[in-house]
């Protein structure tokens, strides 16, 4: 037999991504499209809380990977649904995730669920940050309703869970809901009132989420991963840094203590003081470095 190169075409893998019009999903879909065949159906094409629709769509497209980024993320609205499992927040976050996980299992697809640091609620004595190995609480008493629904959704996942915290990106759909953009927007309208000084969390660069997903698809790893800046920041410190980057000074960055604010808040559970996540293990395992929060602010200058 003469040595001659054999021509073999390697077919790109197929990825089904939910939440393709959302803040996180739209950017992840855009980046993964370079390497995978990505389907990102809108809510009109695939409603994840309808089991039949989920199974029909999944069996027709037959993806190798399902990335579930769709979620009910409005924590204030979610609080009004507290305790109710037949309303939107629970249905989308818990029931939808359960259906997608089942469908993935049926066809042997790899399932990746995007979750949040809000599944944790620390205390003054145990303030975190929480690692991939820390167990989230098993009762909702100290969690926001949003956090509790994501916490319960995680129980249904056979695959990978990626927790993120305050996702931000450079531009694109949903960017107006990103944390930096939102702070700036309120600031420019002059309606930014309280900036907490005693609430610390990391923020997540969405491109880092896409990179992590790409690595996980290659490894097909199960388990929990955290994608977030290695350093923590308070809203007050973050806003001070943003304004130092070229915005004219405006009176009234008012430092406030969350602990005091909560004493008079109508829905104190909506604000979680201790839910920071620690991403060191994920960075080590996947040999990847996540951006620091300052680097993210520097890259989002066009918000300014």
């Amino acid at each position: 037999m003469r040595k001659q190169s054999v021509r073999v075409t390697t077919e790109p893998q197929k990825v089904l991504l939910t939440g393709g019009s959302g803040l996180v999903g739209s950017r992840v879909a855009e980046l993964l499209q370079k390497k995978y065949i990505v389907a990102a159906p809108g809510r009109g094409e695939l409603e994840i809380i309808k089991k039949d629709q989920v199974f029909e769509y999944v069996e027709k497209f037959y993806p190798d990977v399902i990335i579930h980024t769709a979620a009910f993320t409005d924590a204030t609205k979610a609080e009004k649904e507290r305790g109710s499992t037949d309303r939107a927040c629970w249905q989308v976050n818990v029931v939808g995730t359960k259906y997608l996980n089942e469908a993935a299992k049926r066809i042997g697809a790899y399932f990746i669920f995007i979750s949040t640091g809000s599944v944790f609620a620390g205390t003054k004595d145990n303030p975190g940050p929480f690692t991939e190995d820390n167990e989230p609480p098993k009762d909702p008493s100290r969690l926001s309703w949003y956090g509790w629904t994501k916490n319960r959704a995680e129980q249904f996942v056979d695959g990978a869970i990626i927790r993120i915290s305050h996702p931000v990106k450079k531009e694109g759909p949903g960017v107006e809901r990103d944390y930096i953009y939102n702070l700036l927007n309120l600031y420019q309208k002059g309606s930014l009132y309280a900036l907490f000084t005693d609430q610390f969390f990391p923020i997540t660069w969405i491109d880092d989420v896409a990179k992590t997903i790409d690595l996980l698809i290659t490894k097909r790893s199960q388990g929990v991963y955290h994608v977030a800046s290695p350093d923590l920041v308070s809203p007050y410190e973050l806003m001070r840094y943003i304004t130092s980057k070229g915005l004219g000074s405006r009176p009234g960055l008012v430092p406030t203590a969350l602990s005091e604010f909560l004493q008079n808040a109508k829905n104190p559970l909506r604000f979680t003081q201790f839910c920071a996540i620690d991403s060191r293990k994920t960075q080590k395992l996947l040999r990847i470095r996540f951006l620091s929060w300052k680097a993210m602010v520097d890259r989002t200058r066009n918000h300014l």
Partner: protein, 227 residues
């Protein structure tokens, strides 16, 4: 999904009494979904467990043919023999009897029927012991070096046109038979494609790791480099 015209699913089995029923039943199920006409051929390679008795249950099923080796012959001879069992089917699909690859993974290969003649399932993440993964990596690397065969996972499931098998005489009697088939099919201008598939935990130990298999494969490999 466009169905195949006709399909034969070939299942080699050696001491898979715990899994063989679900493999055959699920194979029947997926064959129905993917092909207008279909049959299943099971070759029992001299199993010493309850496989023989279990396979008797399929005697009355006209879609299932059971063949038997009285004495164990090994993976290479068994799969080689199955490659000639396509009959009048246009397509042939091979499937292990140990359920490591779920029969429904055929659904990932069928959509490529118009753009390829041989579609190989690439186990993207193999749930095998480290030693097996290492052997497999060395083997697939050697194949790339000596034969220019750029396939990630050559001894995996494959869906191929039966006429390829009629054009090619495979001489290997070891696990090298799969590689030989790819190399010769390519020489004849057939289009080869690899597609990602899902792989389960190894429920039972396969024969890939033992010395007899390795030496036989290396032997066939050297013979083919020489010729």
């Amino acid at each position: 999904m466009k169905k195949l015209i006709s399909l034969t699913i070939c299942i080699p089995t050696f001491n898979n009494s715990h899994t063989i029923v679900s493999v055959i039943d699920e194979a029947l199920d997926v064959a129905k979904k993917t092909s207008s006409t279909y049959r299943i051929v099971v070759l029992n390679d001299g199993s010493t467990d309850k496989t023989v008795e279990i396979l008797k249950h399929y005697k009355r099923n006209p879609a299932v043919t059971i063949l038997t080796h009285a004495v164990n012959q090994g993976y290479g001879r068994t799969i080689g023999e199955l490659y000639s069992q396509g009959g009048t089917s246009k397509w042939l699909f091979t499937l292990p009897g140990d359920h490591q690859i779920h029969p429904n993974q055929l659904l990932r290969l069928v959509p490529h029927q118009d753009t390829a003649d041989m579609i190989i399932g690439w186990r993207v993440k193999r749930h095998d012991p480290a030693i097996r993964l290492m052997q497999s990596w060395i083997y697939n690397t050697l194949l790339r070096l000596f034969f220019g065969l750029p396939i990630h996972d050559v001894n995996s499931v494959r869906l191929m046109r039966t006429h390829i098998l009629k054009e090619i005489m495979v001489s290997s009697r070891s696990a090298f038979v799969d590689a030989e088939l790819c190399i010769k099919a390519n020489q004849l201008g057939h289009r080869i494609k690899e597609v990602a598939i899902d792989h389960h935990e190894d429920l039972q130990k396969g024969s890939g790791g033992n010395w007899k298999t390795i030496i036989g494969t290396l032997n066939d490999m050297v013979r083919n480099v020489g010729s």
